[in-house]
């Protein structure tokens, strides 16, 4: 597409890949950025200014664990001063009255707090950290006490799906305004752990029923966002709302990406905030124009009526499952590669294998 694209709505600012948890479905890439490669405070301030100038409305401070960066309150305050909406996506492990007050005073708008399960033993096992659940429950209490709107995020898989009703109950008990019941997406760490995570169709349907019942009970008090596992869908998800259409992702080392997994695609040059402005990268870089719009699409996408709804699905999933990032997402039932999805479901082991936890160096023997 030669036309200038509309500006992005959101910036996902991945401040660090360091994290006290090691969830086996982490959305970070298998090759994690080391602390020594992280952008400086001055770099992030400049990125935030450029984002505001080009029309970004919301900044999502994420990681890894963004609270591992001592400059987080300064970056939040800077974003607030530029009129940006600020969202913190956190594990809550490092949240205490002092660190929360610094963020609240900086003008933070909203917190999304992750939970791994509803029961402490299971949650600590999935996150790979003893005592994590207790810290998270205390974090939720402090956030609600401060008056900040709180969203709980649960990533769902075969080892916690049966407790979705308890998770929804937790959201109500803790005073959350929103709750995300988000099934695992299978690329990166999630793909590495797919046999340990992929639910059965029956499990999926039970989670759908639990969400429908809770929606009826909550009414408008608590909003539920449900994300389906696309392996059981017949149409792919419109990944990131389309490549280079709505989202910008900046990695800890300053790479500018259309999604947080894009670095898995080989043979591409990933532009850096150290070399160019966000606006120049968004508008002109070969990376962002590569899969923007519909010109790049193969058949059956090219002649498909849904091509501007699902945008051909997820490029990283196409790569991971077919070896070709330009292929139709195999989740689509019309895709030539669709049988790999059916095989993955058919070959689910009866007993889930041990997790390959997300930590530095743990994907290297993959």
């Amino acid at each position: 597409m030669s036309n200038t694209p509309p500006p992005p709505m959101s910036l996902l600012a991945e401040l660090t890949h360091r994290c006290p948890l090691q969830c086996p479905y982490c959305s970070n890439p298998l090759q994690l950025d080391a602390r020594t490669t992280e952008l400086s405070t001055a770099d992030w301030r400049r990125v935030i200014e450029q984002a505001a100038e080009m029309g970004v409305l919301q900044v999502h401070f994420s990681g890894g664990e963004p609270m591992a960066r001592p400059d987080l309150p300064e970056l939040v305050a800077h974003a607030v001063s530029l009129g940006l909406y600020t969202n913190l996506i956190t594990s809550g492990i490092l949240l205490n009255p002092k660190t929360l007050k610094a963020l609240s005073d900086a003008g933070l708008d909203h917190v999304q707090l992750s939970f791994q399960d509803a029961t402490p033993e299971q949650a600590d096992y999935i996150g790979g950290m003893a005592g994590a659940q207790a810290k998270k429950l205390e974090a939720a209490r402090l956030i609600v006490e401060d008056g900040l709107p709180l969203t709980l995020n649960f990533v769902i898989h075969r080892q916690n799906a049966e407790r979705v009703p308890a998770m929804l109950q937790m959201a109500e008990t803790l005073g959350a305004r929103r709750v995300e019941i988000a099934h695992t997406q299978y690329y990166g760490w999630g793909l590495l752990n797919r046999d340990a995570l992929l639910p059965s169709r029956t499990q999926l349907e039970e989670t759908e029923r639990a969400v429908a019942q809770a929606r009826a009970r909550f009414g408008t008090r608590i909003a539920i966002d449900f994300v389906t596992p696309d392996y059981y869908a017949d149409q792919p998800k419109p990944c990131m709302g389309g490549w280079g259409q709505r989202f910008l992702n900046v990695s800890p080392s300053g790479k500018v990406l259309p999604c947080h997994a894009a670095e898995s695609i080989p043979g591409l040059h990933f532009p850096s905030v150290q070399e160019e402005t966000l606006a120049a990268i968004w508008q002109n870089s070969p990376l962002f124009t590569l899969y923007r719009g519909t010109d790049w699409m193969p058949e059956p996408c090219q002649s498909c009526a849904f091509k501007e709804q699902d945008w051909g699905g997820c490029r990283c999933q196409a790569l991971a499952l077919t070896g070709n990032a330009s292929a139709t997402d195999p989740v689509c039932e019309r895709a030539p590669g669709h049988s790999v999805i059916q095989q993955a479901i058919a070959n689910r082991p009866a007993v889930p294998p041990a997790f390959r936890y997300r930590r530095y160096g743990n994907a290297e023997t993959a």
């Binding site: 500006p7 709505m9 009129g83 909406y85 708008d109 909203h110 008090r221």
Partner: protein, 99 residues
């Protein structure tokens, strides 16, 4: 349900403010008004923006209707009906809250 904002219909005496983490914002790049809310931003059309700019936790919906009636050449009952409908919808979305 115990949620009064969801079950009590709004009237001229209702007093509203933006819930924390929600605000009206003019986007200079797109030249449009947006409602900024947790994890999403959505467009406020020009009529909605006129109402929402007057919501400050001090003016009742009746007082807001009077101001808009003075500013625009439209029947007061039409403005009131639209204001009640808009604010109820946004209270259901937890953007606005009763003071």
């Amino acid at each position: 349900m115990s949620d009064t904002t969801a079950t009590t219909p709004f009237s001229e005496t209702t007093l509203l403010r933006f819930a924390r983490g929600n605000r009206l914002q003019y986007d200079r790049v797109r030249e449009q008004w947006f409602i900024q809310a947790p994890e999403r931003a959505f467009i406020a059309d020009p009529n909605a923006a006129e109402v929402l700019q007057l919501i400050d936790g001090k003016r009742t919906l009746g007082a807001i209707t009077d101001k808009l009636h003075q500013k625009f050449n439209a029947p007061r009952e039409v403005i009131l009906r639209d204001t009640l409908r808009l604010t109820q919808e946004l209270a259901d979305k937890q953007v606005l809250t009763v003071v």
